[in-house]
């Protein structure tokens, strides 16, 4: 497979800068795969597990928010947060999931803003856990 230049950047730093063969990310409209010589393309990102193939090896990461752009063969993944599977603290994600569920189980005791935040946290925690899992 042909390789292309991929950059994954987040406000917390550069996560990846190098040659990749394919990228699979979840946009707001669904999963999108990008290979070499893709047409110019821009889409906002949703929340999901991203798969990047580097030298035939697939790496997974939890990718939340931001955008993906292909401009003249350069692919950029500008994510609000992106963590490689091996950097994810599964215990922390599980604790966050339990906390968020505890809030969401009693919707009448909290205001709308807290509920919305908790829902966001729950979704991120679930994505982190699924990204950290070994692919079957």
């Amino acid at each position: 497979m042909n390789a292309y230049h991929l950059q994954i950047v987040t406000p917390d730093g550069l996560r990846f800068d190098g040659e990749a063969q394919s990228l699979l990310v979840r946009t707001t409209t669904g999963d999108v795969g990008i290979r070499a010589r893709h047409a110019n393309y821009v889409a906002p990102l949703g929340m999901g597990v991203a798969r990047v193939t580097i030298d035939g090896q697939e790496r997974r990461g939890a990718c939340v928010g931001g955008m993906v752009s292909v401009l003249k063969g350069e692919v950029r993944l500008l994510a609000t947060s992106f963590e490689w599977a091996e950097d994810i603290d599964v215990e922390r994600a599980k604790a966050a999931e339990a906390n968020a569920r505890a809030i969401l189980d009693h919707p009448d005791q909290h205001d709308a803003e807290t509920l919305e935040l908790a829902e966001g946290r729950l979704r991120r925690a679930l994505i982190r856990q699924s990204a950290a899992e070994k692919p079957q």
């Binding site: 821009v42 928010g65 401009l71």
Partner: protein, 281 residues
């Protein structure tokens, strides 16, 4: 006579010494915080740059003006986000950035969104319209705060509350140099009229919804980057200012010690002369 002035000088030396201790401590605190802030600037810079390049690149290739973010408007106030520090004693840091913002809004109908206590105090006391005072603590802002700030501004912009959005911040060039800048954020730069064929870009699902989803992220990212730069600049400026203050205090102490010793010697000489004169008589 000599005794009184000797005591005076001693008191002044002591007060200078405590001033020096304070400035020295402030310099050290600023240095250690600066190291962390500098790291944050270095990690956030690639994002800041990639984001700016990508979004302006997309806007330049754009041919669809349906999104409100690319339309140029005439009416309404300019929203000016001004990032300054929370505290003084940082040399010209606060003054420079506020002065630049002041010049930028001169003669315009402007609504200010100050970040940092100093900016809030200044614009409030000078009778400007202040949008919100929720971001008065520049040091405690996280990237999450920046994204919610950006979202609020985008909502306001879409509703037509502002005609443009501009960001005034201080760019961290080096520890010794910090330059204030004005960065126009919205509307997005209009595409240049060039003759050559445009490269077409696929927007998924549509250009308008892509812009509407991306612009708040873009603004949030840029504000976060500018905040990181500003915080590092403030610490850099404070470090330099405090270093100069410490040096000045040292110089003054040296000068005063010399005066003190002279006064002491004068007193001794006078005493000897008096004794000798007494013995002669």
């Amino acid at each position: 006579m000599a005794g009184v002035s000797m005591k005076d000088i001693k008191l002044r030396i002591r007060s200078m010494e405590s001033t020096k201790q304070i400035t020295k401590a402030m310099e050290m605190v600023a240095s250690s915080k600066l190291r962390r802030a500098q790291e944050r600037v270095l990690t956030s810079r690639p994002y800041f740059e990639a984001l700016y390049e990508t979004v302006t690149g997309i806007a330049a290739e754009n041919w669809d003006f349906s999104s409100p973010y690319v339309q140029v408007r005439e009416e309404g106030p300019v929203c000016e986000i001004v990032i300054a520090g929370d505290r003084g004693l940082a040399g010209g840091y606060n003054h420079n950035v506020i002065k630049l913002a002041q010049e930028d809004v001169k003669g315009k109908d402007a609504a200010i969104l100050p970040v940092g206590k100093k900016a809030l105090e200044y614009f409030r006391s000078h009778g400007h319209t202040v949008i919100s005072d929720a971001y008065a603590e520049a040091a405690g802002l996280t990237s999450g705060d920046c994204f919610s700030l950006a979202k609020a501004i985008c909502d306001g912009y879409r509703e037509g509350k502002y005609s443009a959005v501009r960001l005034v911040y201080t760019s961290f060039v080096s520890v010794l140099t910090q330059t204030p800048y004005v960065l126009p954020l919205l509307p997005l730069p209009a595409p240049e009229k060039h003759e050559k064929a445009r490269e077409l870009t696929l927007y998924d699902p549509s250009s308008e919804s892509v812009f509407n989803a991306i612009v708040p992220e873009y603004l949030g990212g840029l504000i976060y980057g500018a905040l990181c730069e500003s915080v590092a600049s403030e610490l850099g400026a404070r470090r330099t200012a405090m270093d100069a203050a410490t040096k000045n205090a040292e110089e003054m102490i040296d000068d005063l010690s010399l005066k003190y010793n002279r006064a002491r010697q004068g007193a001794i000489t006078q005493e000897i002369t008096e004794i000798v004169a007494g013995a002669d008589a």
